[in-house]
């Protein structure tokens, strides 16, 4: 063993390469390199990216034992570590909130932490200690199932570029303040908040991801937004609140995002946008909007259809469109306001639209009118796929019959009707 076959190939490489190798190993294997040779004894101890996952200790059937082992492992590791720690991630479902975590965060706050991800198991929410707010170099923060309570003296994370809060207990004022006090914030993700009413002020924000029950969202100052993805759940009282609201949600939400390139909406998003007074002609054009994906659109609600249409017609450079209907069985066969479609701007040209995917189509009149509109306005359309809703087997033939009648502006357009 040893030197018989030749000289050491790897121990004298620069630490940056060694780190590059060690961070690609599971952390346990990285620590084990300490017994390889005398040069390798402490190489593992200077790695700057620490990721602790389910596999970092041996599991056994007793959850308490495993939890204790993991806590000991991480504590010992941090104690033996030397040098800065730029990334610290814990994604362990069997680890619950415990007092050691506070000590770890304190340790990290003294070691230039830049990226922190804490995803513990289901259970008591971890109350984040105040030392987190002293991490001046924090660039990326992801917290799952925690309680955040920024102290009044907290002036924001000046380097924070990305924030992801998932099931985090924090007061609305605190979260608004947190967002607006992070001047470099580019990516924001908020999920599973209860009835959040939020006004977002983030001049550098580019990516926004929201999921949960939101009572009210206003994108007050987000001119640089490039990508928005919203999954909006609704409870009865939120729905009530909506009925009473007079503001135009569409404008409040999408009124200030001229640079938008991609928009994705799920569940009640289009309904949310449809509430409020009719904006009439939309104030802005989304010149960069190339992808629109709207799911669970109710084609029985005229207002929702209007929202969809406004979006499409305000996006001259739209390339890809995806719409899915709500999978409710349609209640009425004849729909009101069909003549609205006659008034639709026929000179609207979707000159870049190439791909359209429609799913959960039930064949209701408004759906068919939309398809007709799309086919007639897209001169470069290449493919349109239609997947009918599984519940309406009888109307499929009817749908097909109507489809064939529609005029197509694009000679190349292929319509693919996919039946299960």
């Amino acid at each position: 063993m040893g030197d018989a076959l030749g000289s050491d190939l790897i121990s004298d490489l620069p630490q940056s390469i060694i780190e590059s190798i060690l961070v690609r190993l599971p952390i346990r294997d990285a620590v084990r390199t300490s017994i390889l040779s005398s040069k390798w004894r402490y190489k593992w101890a200077s790695i700057t990216q620490l990721v602790f996952d389910e596999k970092c200790v041996d599991t056994c059937s007793d959850r308490d034992v495993v939890e204790k082992t993991v806590v000991k492992f991480i504590t010992r590791f941090l104690f033996l570590h030397q040098g800065p720690i730029h990334k610290f991630q814990i994604t362990i479902s069997y680890l619950q909130s415990c007092p050691e975590i506070d000590q770890w965060i304190l340790f990290l706050s003294r070691n230039d932490i830049k990226e922190l991800v804490l995803e513990l198991g289901e259970g008591e929410f971890l109350r984040i200690p105040s030392c987190l707010f002293k991490c001046k170099k924090l660039c990326h923060l992801e917290l799952f199932r925690c309680e955040l309570d920024p102290p009044p003296s907290f002036k924001g994370f000046l380097c924070l570029r990305s924030l992801n809060l998932h099931q985090v207990l924090i007061s609305p004022e605190a979260i608004e303040a947190l967002i607006s006090n992070c001047p470099l914030l580019e990516s924001l993700s908020l999920s599973y908040f209860d009835s959040l009413a939020l006004s977002i002020r983030a001049p550098n924000l580019k990516y926004l991801y929201l999921e949960g029950e939101f009572r009210d969202i206003c994108l007050e100052d987000t001119p640089q937004l490039v990508e928005i993805s919203v999954a909006m759940y609704m409870t009865d009282d939120i729905a009530e609140h909506f009925e009473q609201s007079a503001d135009c949600n569409f404008v409040k939400f999408l009124g200030g995002v001229p640079n938008l390139e991609r928009l994705v909406g799920h569940i009640y998003f289009t309904k949310y946008l449809s509430i409020g007074n009719d904006p009439g002609c939309l104030p802005i054009m989304y010149k960069n909007l190339e992808t629109i994906e709207l799911n669970q659109v109710s084609f029985e609600d005229m207002k929702e259809i209007l929202v969809v249409l406004s979006l499409i017609t305000s996006s001259p450079n739209l390339k890809e469109l995806q719409i899915s209907g709500s999978s409710n069985i349609p209640s009425a066969t004849d729909a009101p306001d069909l003549d609205f479609w006659e008034k639709c701007p026929s000179k609207c040209r979707l000159s870049q639209l190439r791909v359209v995917h429609l799913t959960d189509m039930c064949g209701v009149p408004h759906e068919m009118e939309l398809i007709k509109f799309l086919l007639g306005s897209s001169p470069v359309l290449e493919i349109m796929t239609i997947i009918p809703c599984v519940y309406v087997v009888e109307s499929q033939l009817k749908m097909l019959t109507e489809l064939v009648k529609f005029r197509r502006a694009s000679a190349k357009a292929e319509i693919v009707f996919i039946r299960e």
Partner: protein, 349 residues
Amino acid sequence: MSEIDMAVIKPEMMKSYIWLQTSDGSIQQVEQEIAMFCPLICQEIITKGMGSSKNSAISLPQQVTPSTLSLILDYCRFHQVPGRSNKERKSHDEKFVRMGTNRLCELVSAADSLQLRPLVDLISRALARKIEGRTPEEIREIFHLPDDLTEEEKLEPLKNITDDPRIRLLNRLYAKKRKELKERERLKNVEIEEERVDERSVDDLLTFINGNDGDSKAVKTPKNKKKNRKKKDQQKNPSLKEDSGPEKKELNGHDTCDQSSDGNIIGETSNLTYEEDGTFSPKIDFDDGDMDDGIDPAIREKIDREVEDFARRINSDWAERMQDFLTSGRERTSTLSATNGNGYLRRHA
């Protein structure tokens, strides 16, 4: 003729070439657009204007040998073409890293010196795959690492996460060993001080027991701390076999002070060696001539036990003893014999 016409007629003419010098001094010509894929070369061309002629060839860092340069250029040649799909690139990369560990390590070093981050990452991943899930022996063999850690260093419990039961057992023994070493040290220290005071008390004991027949000189010998003190003492005082033996043994108490049953063996702590296969072979350095000093082994054992007992008691009541020794005179001795040397006196009365 326009530039485009020229390109159609003589495509080679339109490509510009860059001169690069590798670590061995040789200079070669490389298409500029491929070489520019390396940030370092790019920088040299743009900021320093180097590389346009043979004389101003860009001298590459010493980690870049001609063979590694050729591999790096192959990598760059593939990736600088913009039209390739992610799948194609990934497939190429996977094939690219299929080479000996030797070459991979050379290549990663060269790529790092040229600041070609994607290639460094690719090779790091390949090297990490060679380490993941392997035993230390396998890894040492792959990378030709010297096995130069002492067994002790390898066994240090804090770093040992492998959980091999054999290793756990060794750790435990090691910890025990350390504890005993510490005990020994402590008792040694206790003894040093004990001596000064005990000299008097032992003197008293002796006179009390022997009725002033005892050779007071005998008591002075145990000043040296050597291991074979036992032997020395016994040689000097054959007459005081049973009587003086115990006292000296009492002072030599540290030798038999440990709690475990394999007393004598573990006592010789520094003579143990751990073998790779997990067994340990005690080598007792200490002179076996000891066994021939004339004391009956059975009695010797009894004495050993008593001394052990005595030593233990001395250690625990040390502070109290100190007080006693310092405050009273003769009464002290009787206190001593009465409370501490019960068994002792009974046997020798």
